[in-house]
């Protein structure tokens, strides 16, 4: 009897795992099945054509712009904030409030950030509907993620490293740069990967701050359309599921490439350390 019960629970666990993988495979499979027919060199690298049959290169460029700009701003600020909170600040009420605030910020729906960005960056700062407005909005969205993950990885650095370094007559800053940050690097990098995923997947906030202009952006101050926004619009306006699926394939590939390169870089870091 106990054995049957045991097997039953094992089956439940197995089934849950199977279900998760099945969903993933189905979705990815469906997208590839629907969209693969459209994928071609021209589709990826060709310019957009409003009459149909054009490529999505402007959207890819816009997406990459938003990723790079927001990470370039969010990463240093986020890491420095986390270092301050974890290594320097007196662990009191204020720090607890800041921590609670960053945690809450990660849970706010992105449309709220989008509305804020539309009011603050687009209107008040007169940046207009542009890639830069969207990137700054995305910076705010990703900052809490970077701060939280950096803090968590700083926490995992053994206290013995700090003691060992300080006992050798080094300053706190030297210890931070030479021992603590390098040891925390893999964790910090995975936080950045997470943020990249968040930026690529974002659409509502970008829709409200970068607009929907379907053309190659002249500069980061131009209005433009990212892949996700494009995907939303072609489904919504033209009902073109195949096109949306093809965009989905491109998105999946971009995320895959970024993740793999980040993992590679983090491994390099590890090797340099060990």
């Amino acid at each position: 009897m106990r054995k049957i019960k045991d097997q039953f629970y094992l089956f439940l666990l197995w089934f849950a795992a199977f279900l998760t993988v099945a969903f993933l495979v189905t979705i990815v499979g469906y997208i590839f099945y629907k969209g693969m027919g459209l994928i071609s060199f021209h589709f990826i690298f060709g310019d957009y054509s409003p009459t149909g049959g054009g490529g999505i290169w402007p959207m890819i460029v816009t997406t990459l712009y938003t990723i790079v700009i927001s990470l370039v701003i969010a990463t240093p600020i986020g890491i420095m904030a986390a270092v301050y909170l974890q290594e320097y600040a007196k662990q009191g009420k204020l720090v607890r409030i800041i921590r609670f605030a960053t945690e809450s910020l990660t849970g706010i729906p992105s449309i709220i950030y989008g509305l804020f960005g539309a009011v603050f960056f687009v209107t008040s700062l007169k940046l207009g509907m542009s890639i830069i407005s969207a990137s700054l909005t995305l910076t705010i969205i990703t900052l809490p993620v970077v701060i939280r993950t950096t803090e968590e990885s700083l926490k995992t650095v053994p206290h013995a490293y700090r003691e060992g370094s300080l006992a050798l007559g080094t300053t706190k800053l030297q210890t931070l740069y030479k021992v603590i940050l390098p040891s925390a690097m893999p964790g910090i990098l995975s936080g950045i990967i997470l943020s990249m995923g968040r930026i690529i997947g974002e659409s509502a906030a970008i829709f409200l701050t970068a607009g929907t202009v379907a053309a190659m952006p002249a500069s980061i101050f131009s209005s433009a359309r990212t892949l996700t926004v494009h995907s939303y619009l072609v489904t919504q306006e033209a009902g073109d599921i195949e096109l949306a699926a093809a965009i989905g394939i491109v998105l999946i590939v971009i995320i895959l490439v970024l993740n793999l390169s980040a993992t590679y870089i983090s491994k390099k870091f590890d090797k340099a350390n060990y």
Binding site: A160, R162, L166, T170, T171, V179, Y274
Partner: protein
């Protein structure tokens, strides 16, 4: 424990200290007077006074939580890292009160430390040993090479690691790691080396090697070692201080502490009746 015996012990101990230091021709390196230490409200050290001689090994023994590690960490001010630690009293190293000066960096280059568990950084063996000198601003490659070799030789581990200096220090065995930790401390050319139960995480053979190393090192360094292992104290040290509940009960020549201690509590402890 009544106050009168405590008082008597203290005076006895003091007289012993002064007698032994006047008898021998060794110099006092570290002089501690009436040191009290508090973790917040809780007092951890009571009126600790001890004179530690230059180029000798001084062992600190006593049961867990008796304050010996806490005391050790006052000597290079590692307790500063803990919030809410208060100290009064005086610690002089080379006649200089280390709590009057604010130059902790200078103090810690002069007073090195080896911890309970090997705590090498996730870097190569070479980078670990060169870490301290580099942070002091030494960049010359030849000079660094020389320091690394000398330090590793000084820690009796050069022959074992000379062909793999650029590989991860964490790939070494625990005993080897601990000796590289000693090399890392030596690389700073300190006068004093503090050791906080340096062999408690090691196997017997590695322990033996570290003990042999300590015996060699005392020609050049003043060594203060905290140990749980009484045989170890007996084997490696010249003087032994017995700590109990944050006080030094007795401080004397190691041979005397282990053969005919003057305090009953010391005798009970070294004969294994408690602790």
């Amino acid at each position: 424990m009544n106050t009168t015996t405590l008082e008597r012990n203290r005076t006895e101990k003091k007289s012993v200290t002064s007698k032994s230091s006047s008898q021998s021709d060794t110099q006092t390196k570290i002089s501690v007077n009436n040191l009290n230490l508090f973790y917040g409200e809780k007092q951890a050290l009571y009126e600790v006074s001890i004179d530690i001689n230059e180029k000798e090994v001084t062992a600190l023994i006593g049961p867990s939580g008796c304050g010996k590690s806490t005391f050790l960490r006052t000597l290079n001010r590692m307790n500063d890292l803990i919030d809410g630690v208060r100290i009064n009293g005086q610690i002089k190293i080379d006649q200089e009160d280390i709590y009057q000066s604010n130059d902790v960096i200078k103090l810690r280059t002069k007073v090195g430390m080896v911890f309970q568990k090997p705590n090498l950084f996730p870097m190569s063996i070479y980078d670990n040993v060169a870490y301290g000198p580099r942070m002091q601003g030494i960049k010359n490659k030849g000079e660094l090479n020389k320091i690394v070799e000398e330090s590793l030789r000084g820690a009796a581990i050069w022959d074992e690691v000379k062909d793999r200096l650029k590989t991860s220090a964490l790939g070494l065995s625990g005993g080897q790691q601990q000796r590289v930790c000693i090399a890392r401390a030596i690389a700073m050319k300190p006068d004093v080396i503090l050791m906080d139960e340096p062999t408690s995480a090691l196997d017997p053979i590695s322990t033996l090697k570290v003990e042999e190393l300590i015996a060699q090192m005392k020609n050049e360094y003043t060594i203060v070692i905290v140990t749980h292992n009484m045989q170890q104290a007996a084997r490696v040290s010249d003087k032994t201080a017995f700590f109990l509940n944050g006080e030094i009960i007795e401080f004397d020549e190691t041979s005397k502490i282990f053969s005919m201690p003057s305090d009953q509590r010391t005798e009970d402890y070294v004969t294994g009746r408690f602790g």
